[in-house]
């Protein structure tokens, strides 16, 4: 079948070319930019010098040294990973019972229950953040109620807005469906006869869960965790709007380097570290998932 071999490339050529130009190339350009000097007015300085007709490369390791020599950025990375781990774990604890409930309910209600999880996920990202800005606002009912209760115990008023707690709640809120969907896809496939058999043999409810359902669902747990962990790690809008000064994550610094301080080479360094981390997490996850 000779005709087929070129026709398959005919199909894949246009999308491949597009993605090479607008996805692969920019990533490589950014890797290159991380070795360049910042431009005088922001952006990038030329990567070569022209002197008496001679062209010499003008690249540097300074940007990478800056990352490694001060511990601010390393600490910021660790803090961001901490937030991402926390959000992933909370999503798991909240999402697992929900996914299990949907997977175990009747055929008809299943589709509706699942749709109800997906719908908020399709509403605008900023609207979902904004909703929490209203809830946590100092004049909002929640803050006033909480302070009313705290007042009874003689504890001073607290503010919820612009705190790491507010940020974490919103991070979980935005990413919860990413955890529920793969978990559901996995739990739905389980053979319920296994649970019946275990019950007949005298295993209690929790024993059945930990010995059968949980181990079988691990690949779903891993998939969901990756889908939550990676976007949270690169988040900048939620810390920006809800986190206050304590809630800065690596995404905020990347945004700052590109938009405000306009130190693109250093922004590129941070972006490359984020890229490598994300790729490593995906590879690790798929390795772990395959072993199941």
């Amino acid at each position: 079948m000779q005709g087929k071999s070129w026709s398959k490339y005919l199909l894949s050529l246009p999308p491949m070319a597009y993605l090479l130009i607008f996805f692969a190339a920019p990533t490589l350009i950014m890797l290159f930019a991380s070795f360049r000097y910042p431009g005088e007015y922001g952006g990038l300085a030329p990567w070569y010098l022209q002197e008496n007709g001679r062209i010499t490369l003008d690249l540097t390791l300074e940007n990478w040294q800056r990352l490694l020599c001060t511990d601010i950025y390393i600490r910021l990375f660790i803090k961001s990973i901490g937030y991402a781990v926390a959000a992933t774990l909370i999503c798991m604890v909240m999402g697992y019972p929900l996914a299990l409930m949907i997977a175990r309910s009747g055929r008809k209600s299943r589709d509706l229950l699942l749709l109800l999880v997906i719908l908020p996920f399709w509403s605008n990202f900023l609207v979902r953040i904004y909703a929490w800005m209203i809830i946590f606002s100092p004049v909002g009912a929640l803050t006033r109620m909480l302070n009313g209760v705290l007042d009874l115990f003689g504890v001073g008023p607290v503010t919820l807005m612009y705190s790491p707690t507010a940020m974490l709640v919103c991070l979980v809120y935005v990413h919860l469906p990413f955890m529920v969907l793969p978990l559901y896809a996995n739990l739905e496939k389980h053979d319920l006869d296994l649970l019946d058999a275990a019950q007949d043999l005298g295993a209690g409810k929790w024993r059945r869960f930990w010995l059968i359902t949980w181990p079988l669902s691990l690949s779903g747990v891993i998939a969901g965790s990756i889908l939550v962990f990676i976007p949270v790690l690169g988040m900048f809008a939620i810390p920006d709007l809800l986190g206050g000064t304590d809630g800065i994550m690596i995404g905020n610094v990347i945004k700052q380097q590109f938009m405000e301080s306009r130190d693109w080479p250093f922004g590129s360094v941070l972006s490359m570290v984020l890229t490598v981390t994300a790729v490593a997490v995906v590879l690790l996850g798929s390795r772990l998932g395959q072993r199941r």
Partner: protein, 257 residues
């Protein structure tokens, strides 16, 4: 045997409450006759009225619709080709190029495209936003199309080939009509993803090319006002309609990949 577990149901109900309460609050306060999003004062339409007299908002809405329309159209063509190619043969490079943009944090695509556009001296505006949106929409369309192909009966195409139809005729009269729901669902998904995108737009937009999410962002940064609630409610309504249609067309696509 149905397993009913009270504890499970209660915790699931609480999670649903957690998912919906914030959105309900946004919608309810968009009709509230008070500048503060704090207490219910009375019913009003005035925030919606204000919205339709806000020139910046209208321009942003127009930009959003143009960008989403064009991006969805181009991404649908490219994504369908990618989906077909991925199903026909395992091409590792294509697969990686299609899936990687979905898997990476959005900010990375935003900043790297910004660097690319500036490098080639492109003025940031509607065009740069569209080029960026197409990039992240291709993968979603490809997945929707692929999900549809894998649910198709390959025997149909084989039968047509046996009866003497040319490959092109086979594609036009059998594959394409059968794929249509998947393609349309992918297109609608691309449209919503584009109209909702904030992060990548944030980095690739220029002066005077504000979109609805960017407009909401700049308003929210300054203060929380009921006008934001009103525009949010309308945006939610639009997404709801589009996604309901899309999920009717191709339920499998929305059951989590």
């Amino acid at each position: 045997m149905q397993r009913k577990n009270v504890l499970l149901w209660i915790s699931a109900a609480l999670v649903y409450l957690f998912l919906y309460l914030p959105l309900v609050i946004v919608v309810v306060f968009s009709f509230n006759d008070s500048r503060l999003n704090a207490e219910w004062v009375g019913f009003t339409w005035k925030w919606y009225g204000k919205l339709f007299h806000n020139q910046e908002m209208l321009t942003a809405a127009m930009n959003s619709l143009i960008i989403a329309g064009v991006s969805a159209a181009v991404a649908t063509v490219l994504g369908t080709l990618a989906g077909l190619a991925m199903e026909q043969s395992r091409q590792r490079l294509l697969q990686m190029l299609v899936l990687a943009p979905i898997a990476m944090p959005e900010i990375l695509m935003g900043v790297s495209l910004l660097v690319l556009f500036i490098m080639v001296n492109m003025t940031l505006g509607l065009l740069s936003i569209m080029l960026a949106h197409i990039t992240f929409c291709i993968g979603f369309v490809a997945l929707a199309v692929q999900a549809r192909i894998s649910s198709m009966d390959p025997g149909l195409v084989e039968a047509a080939r046996d009866l003497g139809a040319s490959p092109w005729r086979c594609f036009r009269e059998i594959t394409l009509p059968l794929l249509m729901p998947g393609i349309l669902a992918g297109a609608l998904m691309a449209f919503t993803l584009s109209i909702d995108d904030f992060v990548i737009t944030f980095f690739t937009a220029g002066v005077g090319s504000s979109t609805l999410p960017l407009q909401i962002y700049s308003m929210v940064k300054i203060a929380v006002t009921p006008e934001v609630n009103a525009v949010s409610t309308l945006l939610m309504l639009l997404t709801l309609v589009v996604i309901t249609v899309a999920s009717r067309l191709s339920p499998a696509v929305f059951r989590g990949e």
